[in-house]
Structures are given as structure tokens and as C-alpha cells.
Symmetry: C2
Subunit: 399 residues, 2 copies
């Protein structure tokens, strides 16, 4: 193990692969990038290659079924962990092949894995006593199949230190976006939406970050339900754009208890997943709301939770100059236009313009986090996760 | 991570804690030992302190329930992993306190964790396609609570390389017991019985190791069943000594398909656990076999599987000079006397006499294995596990 880590420490520039499958369980996002530098404003990334390998249907079904807290079963989870290890490894190997770079030149893989369960500490209304988290995609399988050392299981240590285990991307936002001149918010609209507030000239302890609530998760689930699985998301916001917001349904959605909870806070499929989406869809259906209007309303709800999260917990105390948006939601004009309306006076751009490719942000983030861990740097932000202090994240599996 | 590993690599003598809860899920066996030296015959261990912390009943119940392949549930396994991390950490901290040594002087923890599921590759008669294994007891929690770096998840890499992920202790047997003068077999009678054949002057590739079948697992389960949980095992073999072997029942037990399977092979609770024990108990009961005779028969079956395993797969080709027994079964005179009868001409001793405390063998073994991994040495024996080659085992979690 020492040998591999020493080799990494000897260099200043590294080729690192980041692997993640998000809460929406679509498949593995893989990014190979060259990373150099240390500390705020000095970390530079060059995206060499990215690749998204959708899960085959049977994998996605097993993942979604296992993600139900009452789902799973020990034998199934045991095998699924190794099976997802194979899927993640295949995805990394495909990326390496497309990049046409020998695996031996790649220093490290940071694998977030597939979140199957994430139970923040003191989760109300459940039987759970402890904070805990479970990401599958066995690192030993990835190391074995790729011949590259792996860092995985990033969230557990932060939770062991009393944190929520999420969000972890704010550290990357801090490295990449924080500066002395302007106050910025980095917003990622993936399955869940999360934001990082980076005050001008602020220290890492002044970084504030939390999940605002749903990203594309609710709309994705509704689109899948109404098209019987033929469509998996509302491409370019076309359905939402064709519909009208239904105020009574929107009001019902706004009742969700998560929105009022003060940061640090994180959420997931447990609160905004298929079950919730279906409940809201049926609620709208009973009021005879047209399907496209339900989608327009759920899209508005998503935007509104982001805007309200910003207003209630950031803009109440701070000024924001720029909002840097990444994730699939940044490609939805209905969301982007609504955000601009809700947040006048804030310059809204996507992360591509800041050297962070918007569609690969999360996979790049875990490449950056893995490199920080291998180099012995702490990479959680206690003000974002609620942990007792900064910690070196993840487990190292030697090639 | 590098910093902690470098510190370990700078020294030649290490204080390491080994933690394991065996397949019988009794509780955490913890051993703190000082380990020095490298390679066959040169590794010396000094046991500083050992401690066994029985699981509280509710933990044991949750472990046993989760160990059923159809048991578990995602939410339960997610929490149980962190909960067992707390239990393992508490056990390590108690050990450190008893030893009265500052935690800062301890270099490393090797935590095997609690096996919840172990599915060897190509397991017949099941729905499983892949070899996979699941040990719980979150390493991040252990590192956080003790302030000591942890190596965990030892079995996964061997399985990723096509191995059975077991047995792993043979490498330790090789380091500790192999020599040029005599051919030895190291036998551990824990929940499962496993043996390691170490031919005189043999190279590591000539080591042969496999699980012979049940250790105390069947008798323990039967004793618990017949005493309604008041007794957890047959202390000193008293019940077995008071009973008679029932030949028809013994013949029924001998039909178990595992016994004929050639090595490499490994087994566990899936094949010899409570379900099997109960089936055999009821089989005996229907033939009006007295409970103490059932225990005597199951004890004879245990001994017989060990002796037959030796005869069929070792003695058929090799001479054995010494049998070095460890594990709880070494304290059962009924087993030890039966072994002596079955294996005339072989000197039978317990491992205490070879510098390996018999009741702490497995916890010490994982301390030794963790040290090997931290020092970058491979520690699986491909001839024992069936893996494609030697691998550095485990995941490193920095303190």
C-alpha cells in the first residue's frame, strides 16, 4: 500500500479517474482528468475523457429494489456489491480505452460507488438510531480489474465523526470556485440539488453547503411513470414548458418538512424518491391536473426549493454575486429561466465557464477528493456536514 | 494515508490489534500483540493482552437474523455495519485500557469484521452468479473512535481475483509454523474447522489449506436449542462425554455433500449453521435418539470430518509429523481424544506450545495479516484460496 501511495506523493500532477452513480441510479459517470496544484484557487483540472455507461435494466432494477430500506436481503446485497464492482470497473476500463492511455499511467481511481442507503444521524420518524451510509461497488473488484489503486467509501468517516456524510462536493467547490473578489454559490442540480456558498475571501470554515431538496429526481420519476418507462427525464424541459403550474398542487408539495429544516442538512431518495413523486402525481391526478401540468408544477417546485433554500439560509445574511450551475438541471431551460426570475441581480452561469465541465462535475469531484485523500489532506467541510472536525476520507485499496 | 503508512514502514516491530467475530457470532475477540520479523520462521509475536467482549443479546440477534441470505434488509444492514463498527471500536478501546498502553503507541488495527454473508464462486444450488463476501463493522468508525489506522475487508480482494476469499489464516500458519524439519498441519477448530498443511521445507506454493467442515458450530447450535439458550456450547465436551454415538444419525450426517468436495474449498453457516443443526437434531429426535447422544454424535461427526479431510486430501499423498490445534475445539477433550484415535502416529499438540495462544489465534492472525498488508506484502495463498495470484489484502482507513 505504501509503495503505491509513495508513487502518488512523488508527483504533483496526477491522472485520476472519478466514478459515481448518483441517487437516480442511471449508470456510472466516469471521468478521467489530469489534476495538479494544491489549495484554494490553485487546483487545475483538465478533463481528458468522460464516459457515461447506463446501467443495464436488470442492474438498475436490482439497485432500485435494494435501495428500498425494507428491500435488499443480505444475499442480494452481498452479490450486488461485487456485481456493481464489476460494472464500475468495466466503466473505468472503457474510459481508459476511449482515452487511449495505458492504465499504468493512471495514478488513482476515486469511486463513490452507488448509494444504496444513506441515513443521516437523528433521522426523525424512522427506527434508526445511528447515522449510517451504504455505498456499493466493491473497490477490490475495481482495483483487480483495472490494476489501479482505488479510494472508496468517502462518506463513512465523516458520519463516524458525527457528520451527515454529505455533502462532500463543497470541498471541491471551495478549491475550484472560491476567490477573493466575488461571493459565489455553486449549485449542482443532479437527482438532488445541493449548493455551496463561498463568500468572497472566505476561509474554508465560512463555506456553507447543504442539499436544497429535489433536483431532477421528482420530475424524472413522474416522467418515467407517465410514459411507462419510455422516457427517463424531461429533455430540455420540453414537457414542463408545454404545461402550466398548478398552484394547489404546488402548495401541497411546498408542505414537505425538509424545506424548513435548517442546514447542515442532506436528503435523498428516501424523502424525494419514486414513492414521494408518485404520491404527488396521484394527488394531482385526483384534482384532474393534466400530466404536463404536473410536470410543470414539479419542475417549478424544484426551482422553488433551490431559490427558497438560497433565500432562507444564504441571502438572509449574505450577498451573492454569481451562481455557478452544474448537473443535468443546468441543461433544462425551464429551470434556468425560473432561477433567473427568482434570483434577480445574481449572475447565473454554468460551471463549464469556470473550468468545471457541468455534466461531469460529480465524477470529477470524486477524482479530486480521492487525490486529496491519497495525499493525506482532509476533505470534508465540517460546517457543511456537521462533523466534529476535518477528516481524511475514504479507504485505500492497493492496485 | 501516506503519513500513517510511512510511520509503520519505518519500524520493524509493531504493536497491532486484531479484531474478529467468528461465524458463530459470539462477540468480538480482540488481541493486542507485538509483532516483529519478516518471512517464514522469522515472525515473532508477543501477546500483550487479549479480550473477548460477548455481543449483547440484541446485537447477536440482529447479526444472526441478518446472516440469513433472505434476512437483512437494506436499512438494517446499513445501520448494523455502523453499529458493529461501534462494538468493534469499543472492544478495541477496552483492550487498550486493560493493556494500559497509550493508543498512540499502537500502530495499526486489523479488523476482520463480522461475516454476514460469504458466497464462494460457483456456489451450486443457489441463485448466486458471482463469488462475494460481506463483512460488517465499519472501519471508519473504528478509526474514528480509537485514533488508530485500520485495515479491514481482507477477503474481498482474493475473491475479486477468483479465489474463495478463504481461508486466509494459512498464510499466518506458514509464517509461524512452517519449518524445514517436520511436516505439520495447523488445525483451527472454531465455528468452522480449517487446516493448513505445511510440508517440511516446503515453499509457500506447496501449502495446502481448506475448511474441513464444521467446527463447534453444529454442537453449539444443538446445545443452545436443547437448553433453550441457557447454555451456548458443550463446555469441556461434558455432554458429548456423557452420551453415546448413534450410528444411523452419524451416517445421515456423513452424507453432507461438502465432505467429498475437493480443496480448495470453504464453508460457513450457510451449510453447517443453525438450520442444518436443527434438521439433524430433529432427524435424531424422530429416531428417539437421546439429546446427549445427539450431541455425542454431532461431536463425533465434527471430529470425523476433520480426520476424513486430512486422510482424503493430505495423508493420501503426504506424511504428517505434527498436528497443531487451536480454537475453542482444542479445549474439548472428547474432540482431542477422538482425533488422537483417528490419527495414530501423529503428534497432536495445541498451538500454545508453538508460541501461538490457542484461544486468540484468529484475532492474532488478523493483526499479523494487517501488518503484512500495511507493509505491502501479499498475504493470500493462491493454492489455498484458488485465487489467480498473490494479492495485498484489505482496505486502509487512516486514523
Amino acid at each position: 500500500m505504501l509503495k503505491q501511495l509513495s508513487k502518488i506523493a512523488e508527483r504533483s500532477t496526477h491522472k485520476v479517474i472519478g466514478l459515481i452513480s448518483g441517487t437516480s441510479a442511471d449508470g456510472v459517470d466516469a471521468a478521467l482528468c489530469e489534476i495538479s496544484g494544491e489549495g484554494r484557487g490553485n487546483v487545475k483540472i483538465k478533463l481528458i475523457e468522460k464516459h457515461t455507461e447506463p446501467y443495464p435494466d436488470f442492474i438498475r432494477e436490482r439497485v432500485l429494489s435494494a435501495s428500498d430500506p425494507k428491500g435488499g436481503r443480505t444475499g442480494e446485497l452481498c452479490e450486488l456489491n461485487f456485481l456493481l464492482g464489476e460494472v464500475f470497473a468495466a466503466s473505468a476500463n472503457q474510459l481508459i480505452q476511449s482515452a487511449n492511455i495505458p492504465a499504468a499511467e493512471i495514478d488513482l481511481i476515486g469511486s463513490h460507488g452507488q448509494t444504496i442507503q444513506h441515513i443521516p444521524p437523528r433521522t426523525e420518524g424512522t427506527e434508526y438510531q445511528l447515522g449510517s451510509t451504504l455505498q456499493l461497488g466493491e473497490a477490490a473488484v475495481i482495483a483487480e480489474r483495472t490494476g489501479i489503486s482505488v479510494i472508496s467509501n468517502f462518506r463513512a468517516r465523516d458520519m463516524a465523526a458525527g457528520g451527515q456524510g454529505a455533502p462532500l462536493v463543497p470541498y471541491v467547490d471551495y478549491l475550484m470556485f472560491a476567490n477573493d473578489q466575488s461571493s459565489r454559490v455553486a449549485l449542482n442540480i443532479g437527482g438532488i440539488s445541493n449548493l455551496t456558498f463561498l463568500p468572497a475571501g472566505g476561509k474554508i470554515e465560512q463555506t456553507l453547503a447543504f442539499d436544497t431538496g429535489p433536483g431532477n429526481m421528482i420530475v424524472d420519476a413522474m416522467v418515467q411513470y407517465m410514459t411507462q418507462g419510455n422516457e427517463s427525464f424531461d429533455r430540455d424541459g420540453d414537457i414542463a414548458a408545454s404545461g402550466k403550474i398548478h398552484q394547489a398542487l404546488l402548495n401541497e408539495m411546498k408542505k414537505h418538512a425538509y424545506l424548513q429544516r435548517p442546514p447542515p442538512k442532506s436528503t435523498g431518495r428516501e424523502e424525494f424518491g419514486f414513492e414521494y413523486a408518485l404520491k404527488m402525481y396521484e394527488y394531482g391526478h385526483k384534482m384532474s391536473v393534466m400530466p404536463r401540468d404536473i410536470i410543470a408544477t414539479a419542475t417549478a417546485f424544484t426551482t422553488l426549493t433551490i431559490a427558497e433554500g438560497l433565500k432562507s439560509f444564504v441571502l438572509n445574511k449574505h450577498k451573492i454575486d454569481e451562481l455557478i450551475v452544474s448537473g443535468g438541471g443546468a441543461l433544462n431551460p425551464v429551470i434556468m429561466e425560473a432561477l433567473a426570475r427568482e434570483l434577480p441581480g445574481i449572475k447565473i452561469e454554468n460551471s463549464d465557464q469556470y473550468g468545471m465541465p457541468l455534466k461531469a462535475k460529480e465524477s470529477i469531484a470524486f477524482a479530486i477528493l480521492a487525490r486529496e485523500s491519497a495525499l493525506g489532506r482532509t476533505a470534508n467541510i465540517p460546517t457543511a456536514t456537521g462533523a466534529q472536525g476535518p477528516r481524511v476520507l475514504g479507504d485505500f485499496t492497493a492496485a
